[in-house]
């Protein structure tokens, strides 16, 4: 089963990469862009058929390693196969 983990800095935590990209977009005249936040996507392929079990396991993975919950939030998604 494929599981997608999206990780981004928490709201209120300044994202310097996003800010730099925002400036670059503005210099290319994409003036409609109000804000840019950059995150990471981690795609897991796990040997599990039960979605609920997978959700629980991946949540533990996020808490222990994949995200630093001091500064990052994460979401877990199951893409339609």
């Amino acid at each position: 089963m494929k599981v997608i983990v999206n990780i981004q800095l928490k709201n209120g935590v300044l994202d310097p990469q996003g800010k730099a990209v925002h400036h670059a977009l503005a210099s290319l005249k994409f003036n409609e862009v109000g804000d840019v936040r950059i995150g990471k996507q981690i795609i897991l392929d796990i040997a599990e058929t039960d979605k609920k079990n997978a959700q629980e396991r991946v949540q533990v993975m996020c808490e222990e390693l994949l995200a630093n919950t001091v500064i990052e939030d994460y979401t877990i998604e199951f893409p339609a196969c």
Binding site: L9, V13, L14, P16, Q17, L65, L66, N68, V70, I71
Partner: protein, 223 residues
Amino acid sequence: MLVAVAVFPGTNCEIDTKYAFEKLGQEVVLVFHKEEKLPEGTDLVVLPGGFSYGDYLRSAAIAKFSPIMKAVIDFANQGGKVLGICNGFQMLVEARLLPGAMKRNENVHFISQFHHLKVIANDNTFLQKCSVGELLNVPIAHGEGSFYIDEAGLKELYANHQVLLTYTNEKGDLQNPNGSVDSIAGICNKAKNVFGLMPHPERAIEKILGSDDGVKMLEGFLN
């Protein structure tokens, strides 16, 4: 004194660190990350700078699960002294031995230069040979050294004298190279046995190389 310097794949400051403590007359052992125990009689563990495990995922995120880190965490929890420099500081926050987290530098650049630091608290082992308000000139070299902590955590740091060093200019005015909260360059834990800083005192031990201000910092650990 026996100093154990942990070495992870991608660590690159272990020899400088060993050299610095040997210059101060101490016995130094390099300990590979696959070891599960610290050498018998270790007085101080140093987590040196570098890019452990390529800093993949986040700086020091993977190093904290190394076998040796279990021993280091036990050692720290029993009151053993631990010093984390640069990547080592990142390991200590990732392992939650120190509060807060480390972010990408605010200007998104890797910064490598001498930088002045101001001593904020010296009622601890590490900076006991320095005076409060004293300026030290020590190299910094990092891409992810922007220290973050929430407001409640910051208050607690100040209340317990856990803020050790801030970045300043040569006059002692705050000058923030990386966007760290309150320009903080180094902190310790509440029990004052775990110390972390982004600057490299082991690179400032000889005047001929620009500064020997790191000597009195490292000397704090000597018995």
